[in-house]
């Protein structure tokens, strides 16, 4: 099964972000999300919120995120995504954002608060198409068939399924209802299925191995950063975690 991991750019600092992503690739990550820090990350739980806050307080800018993407895309061979919130994109300029993200080497974009319903006003999906950036759509157990269909029409690469009702990092019990939910998603999306939110242990991965194609791990990486005593141990702990999740 494939694995997508996650970093907040500039957490704990810019240099570490670069080292962490390289370490993740070495340990077997298949994709990495580089989250652009934002003041009000509406879909994120306390762990990622705090990381965003710290990155912003240390002065991390969107320009820094482009620079990190540029450095990393020349050093790793796995696809790297920008994850972020729409106001960052909107404020910079939708067209310019997509252009600069692509030039920096981004493979695709995950912007959870820009639904296809607003495309008519935003032309964001069109801009990401134009610049050949994969458009990752996020769906949830609450998504009706109508909404799955709407998102499927504009989705690329894989579909990002939120595992349960909640924000990132919230504890998860992968219940029986997961199977019918994923089956419903598969009916609408002709793409690999990725599952995220609350997935942090090898046991979680084993329990979803036969259900989905890609596991997404975010907050657990930040916990590992936080519990490491030095930069060196941080990198080795992250590698250890990523290896254990690659099942």
């Amino acid at each position: 099964m494939k694995l997508m991991t996650h970093v907040v750019v500039g957490y704990p600092d810019i240099t570490s972000t670069i080292e962490i992503v390289i370490a993740m690739e070495q340990a077997g990550a298949d994709y990495v999300e580089l989250q652009i820090p934002f003041s009000d990350p509406i879909a994120d739980g306390p762990t990622i919120m705090k990381a965003c806050d710290i990155a912003l307080k240390s002065g991390v800018t969107l320009k820094d995120c482009f620079k990190v993407m540029k450095r990393l895309s020349s050093q790793v061979s796995i696809p790297l995504f920008f994850m972020g919130y729409y106001n960052t994109v909107f404020s910079y300029g939708v067209e310019k954002f997509c252009h600069d993200a692509k030039s920096a080497g981004a493979y695709g974009l995950i912007i959870p608060d820009m639904p296809p319903d607003e495309e008519e006003h935003e032309h964001f999906i069109a801009a990401s198409r134009k610049h050949r950036l994969a458009q990752i759509r996020v769906v949830t157990p609450a998504s009706s068939n109508h909404r799955l269909k709407l998102n499927a029409q504009v989705a690329d690469e894989f579909v990002y399924c939120v595992s349960h009702y909640g924000v990132t990092g919230s504890s998860v019990q992968l219940t029986k209802s997961l199977v019918p939910y994923i089956n419903r998603v598969k009916k609408h999306f002709n793409l690999p299925v990725a599952l995220g939110f609350g997935i942090s242990t090898p046991a979680h991965i084993r329990s979803i191995k036969n259900i989905v194609d890609i596991a997404i791990v975010g907050s657990a990486i930040i916990h590992t950063i936080d519990s490491s005593s030095s930069n060196k141990s941080m990198l080795s702990n992250i590698k250890k975690l990523v290896r254990s999740l690659k099942i």
Binding site: K50, L62, N87, F90, S91, P115, T140, S144, N151, Y165
Partner: protein, 415 residues
């Protein structure tokens, strides 16, 4: 029985856009809930039984209609236009917030929800939400920025007495916008059994339109009351604007009467030139998409929400209700701003001349009256919305006025 069928040419389109503003920029996990809410609201709007129930509780529980009061002394003192005060401070729970809380609670009941989630800044919306939760049998959780909990302690106490769980929000600036984030996240997690009783004319569609509809009772009453008192309609309406619920409540029924000037007053805090020390969105704000909708937000150059300040906890929200952004573009509503000092001065003047204690939020609107009334003719009529009363502001006002006896009292109580 057609109260909720009232429409204007300034309303949102079917997808909740007021021109370029508004919309539903929500993460996917919220969209089904917003669709469910919209559908339930559209149904309720067209159901005479819903209107009857809403009107019944407005009258018997909230205490409506609230009086339209001729502020004779203030009028004489300022020596210009005749000043009328729409006194929403006399509503049950002390502010206009109960109007939309009642409407939403009745709706949540219809939707079969068991729990209400609310955010609150000044605490007035939180108290009103906790009140309707107690009355209609909902569990209730209120998110409140830690900073606001300090500023509005009395309201925290009352929310807890009313059975609500008040959760301090420790993130960001620890004020209203952070409480909105926390409430939205709770809703994402508990969307199946909970209704988010959002407290202003902001947020993703249908909240701005729905809360406006529940607040329009204010202006609806004013139209009748002023006709009875003066035999004509007013020349000017003035209200403070943060998200915009009280101002929209007063203005909405007048939007299509071009002879009535509409003035919204933002919080200028320590002055609109001081970055981060005011909450005037039209002084330094720009178009953005945050918290599920598009409007003018105070933000930094990267699109992160900027720090704001106002002496009143209810006016420091960084975004303006989307319909107001639209009404400004259309030239239908004019905007002004009042500083902390001007608001305090207006507060003192109103207390002294009228024996009315206006909330610090509403005092911003009165500050605008003080600027405008003397320049207007004695035949002119101004209606100002006293959106709430000041009981909750006792600590802030005492501190701002440097009341030594009060300080002594607080010290003794703390022993």
């Amino acid at each position: 029985m057609n109260f909720f069928k009232y429409k204007t040419k300034y309303d949102a389109d079917a997808s909740g856009h007021f021109g370029p503003y508004g919309g539903r920029y929500a993460p996917e996990m919220l969209i089904p809930a917003l669709e469910e809410l919209e559908e339930a609201y559209m149904k309720a709007k067209n159901d005479p039984a819903f209107e009857k129930e809403y009107m019944y509780y407005l009258k018997t529980y909230v205490g409506r209609p609230s009086p339209l009061y001729f502020a004779e002394n203030l009028t004489k003192h300022l020596g210009g236009a005749k000043i009328y005060m729409k006194n929403e401070g006399l509503n049950h729970t002390g502010a206009h917030k109960i109007n939309h809380c009642l409407g939403q609670a009745l709706l949540a009941k219809r939707m079969g929800k068991k729990r209400l989630i609310a955010e609150t800044g000044a605490g007035q919306h939180g108290v009103a939400a906790a009140t309707v939760a107690a009355r209609f049998g909902f569990k209730c959780t209120v998110y409140m920025g830690e900073e606001d909990m300090k500023r509005q302690r009395p309201n925290v106490f009352w929310m807890q007495r009313l059975g609500a769980k008040v959760i301090p929000v420790m993130e960001g600036s620890r004020t209203l916008k952070d409480a909105v984030n926390a409430a939205l996240k709770d809703w994402i997690t508990n969307v199946r059994d909970s209704h988010y009783i959002l407290g202003s004319t902001l947020g993703p569609h249908p909240f701005p339109s729905m809360n406006r509809d529940f607040q329009q009772i204010v202006g609806y009453e004013v139209k009748k009351q002023i006709q009875e008192l003066e035999g004509r309609q007013p020349d000017m309406l003035i209200a403070c604007v943060s998200g915009g619920s009280n101002a929209m409540g007063l203005f909405y029924r007048f939007l299509e009467d071009p002879s009535v000037r509409l003035i919204g007053v933002e919080a200028a805090g320590e002055g609109v030139r001081k970055k981060g020390r005011h909450a005037s969105r039209f002084a330094g704000g720009r178009l953005g998409v945050i918290q599920g909708y598009k409007t003018i937000f105070l933000q930094d150059k990267e699109g992160n929400i900027a720090q704001t300040h106002s002496i009143s906890a209810g006016l420091d929200y960084p975004g303006i209700g989307p319909q107001f952004a639209y009404l400004k573009d259309k030239g239908r509503v004019e905007f002004s701003a009042a500083t902390d000092k001007q608001a305090l001065k207006a507060f003192n003047l109103t207390v002294k001349h009228e024996g009315i204690l206006p909330a610090l939020e509403s005092s911003h609107a009165i500050a605008e009256v003080i600027k405008r009334a003397p320049k207007m003719s004695r035949d002119n009529l101004i209606v100002v919305n006293i959106s709430g009363r000041a009981d909750k502001d006792i600590f802030i006002v005492a501190k701002a006025l440097g009341d030594t006896e009060w300080n002594q009292f607080i010290k003794e109580q703390a022993k």
